[in-house]
């Protein structure tokens, strides 16, 4: 059994977003990692990893990953509506992560920022940070065990 890192979690999140038919129908600009290429049509969605600390316990490894998921649209009503669709798809979602058990997937913060495109037109950016906490057991040769023998002399 080998340890898996951040990649399967990201794949699971993206798979959940891409398989959602409602999102696929409304996001004409597509789903992009980091930022969208220039002249991409709106509305679009971007995702990126914000933080990913790892906690090692005695027999397992816990990953706590924060994803920035933002929707960009040309009017505020659409941006809010599409963000609600993303929230419905990801908040408390059961992600299927290869080699790991998903404990929590929830939105921990929301953000709304004004922005402008290449032509100077106003763009509405709405979204937030989604936290995914997963757990996986460490291989047998990496686990720590403690044993103690006590002898009571009579």
């Amino acid at each position: 059994m080998s340890i898996t890192g951040l990649a399967p979690i990201k794949q699971a999140l993206v798979q959940t977003l891409r398989s959602n038919t409602a999102l696929k129908a409304v996001l004409t600009g597509g789903i992009h990692e980091g930022f969208a290429p220039p002249k991409t049509a709106y509305p679009l969605l971007t995702y990126s990893v914000h933080y990913a600390p790892i906690d090692y316990l005695w027999g397992s490894m816990m990953l706590e990953v924060g994803f920035d998921v933002f929707v960009f649209a040309e009017n505020s009503v659409d941006a809010d509506n599409f963000d609600a669709l993303v929230f419905a798809a990801l908040h408390d979602a059961e992600l299927t992560v290869t080699g790991q058990s998903t404990l929590i997937c929830r939105r921990v913060s929301s953000l709304s920022l004004p922005d402008s495109n290449e032509e100077g037109k106003k763009i509405y950016q709405v979204g937030g940070v989604y936290q995914v906490i997963t757990d996986q057991p460490l291989p047998a040769n990496r686990r720590s065990t403690i044993s103690a023998d006590a002898v009571i002399a009579s």
Partner: protein, 287 residues
């Protein structure tokens, strides 16, 4: 007579608060240090120059012709300027399919190019002995309105000019006065760095009173210190720079370069063990 012991709740609470304040102060210092290590800094200093490599000998020929043309019209004067100009030229495109175009890439972002009509492309027609693709003369410069754009309009050479809305004539833009540096510092700065110092964006006062160029975001990350409030003990860690949120989170133009939240989450897991250890040493925790 039974032993009695008075339990002073207020004093106990005071001791606990003092420990929490001390630990939270240390936590704030650690988060600030980690966030400053992660905060991005704009490249305002000259980077190691890359040598220009042409894709073909024909490309080399057109680049040399473009540099020679630039020298004739007075854009480049010294040998070092010629070398720099040559590194900024992309290889020729559309070879054999139309007029060769040598693109000139100048530093600066797209919004800046829209505001200031800088020279972006050179369209060259150079005489060669390659048969049907011979051209008669060297053409003029063309100004373009976007980075990397091809011929947009014919006209005079324009650089650092802007159209006066009242008269309609082009008038030169004078750079704003900000901080001035000496020749030694100017030699180390890139053109972007010199612009940012001139306009006052990049130069900030250092702790010793000296002017510091670049690193404004990194320097601005601070912790307010642990303070008691109705909610408990709080320590506000952050930055007062107005563009920090556009660095921390992604925008439509740029990917995120997070520095604050990753630092917080890295240090957060050490907070509880530190508190427990402090309480244990103070004799406040059982076991």
């Amino acid at each position: 007579m039974a032993n009695t012991m008075r339990f002073n709740g207020a004093r106990l609470k005071q001791r606990i608060r003092a420990i929490e304040v001390a630990i939270l102060n240390d936590f704030g210092v650690d988060v600030v240090r980690a966030a400053r290590a992660k905060a991005p800094v704009r490249k305002l200093y000259k980077q190691k120059r890359r040598k220009y490599k042409s894709a073909s000998s024909v490309g080399d020929f057109y680049v040399k012709a473009a540099v020679a043309h630039a020298e004739r019209v007075g854009i480049v004067k010294s040998a070092s300027q010629k070398r720099y100009y040559a590194t900024q030229l992309q290889r020729t495109t559309n070879l054999g399919r139309g007029d060769p175009v040598v693109k000139v890439r100048r530093p600066g972002n797209r919004n800046q190019a829209l505001k200031i009509g800088r020279i972006r492309t050179i369209k060259m027609k150079v005489k060669t002995d390659r048969g049907a693709r011979d051209f008669a003369s060297v053409d003029r410069f063309f100004s373009a309105h976007r980075v990397g754009a091809r011929e947009h309009s014919r006209g005079e050479v324009r650089d650092f000019y802007n159209k006066d809305p009242k008269t309609g004539f082009m008038k030169p833009i004078k750079p704003q006065k900000g901080y001035t540096t000496n020749e030694r510092v100017d030699a180390q700065l890139s053109s972007r760095g010199r612009y940012e110092v001139r306009s006052g964006r990049a130069a900030i006062e250092g702790e010793t009173g000296k002017i510091q160029i670049g690193g404004r975001l990194k320097k601005s990350i601070t912790a307010s210190g642990a303070q008691e409030s109705t909610k408990g003990v709080t320590n506000n860690i952050g930055t007062d720079v107005e563009y920090a949120i556009y660095v921390e989170f992604p925008t439509s133009h740029n990917a995120a370069q997070p520095f604050l939240l990753p630092a917080l989450h890295e240090q957060k897991r050490h907070l509880k063990p530190r508190l427990e250890e402090a309480f244990r040493q103070a004799g406040l925790k059982r076991g």
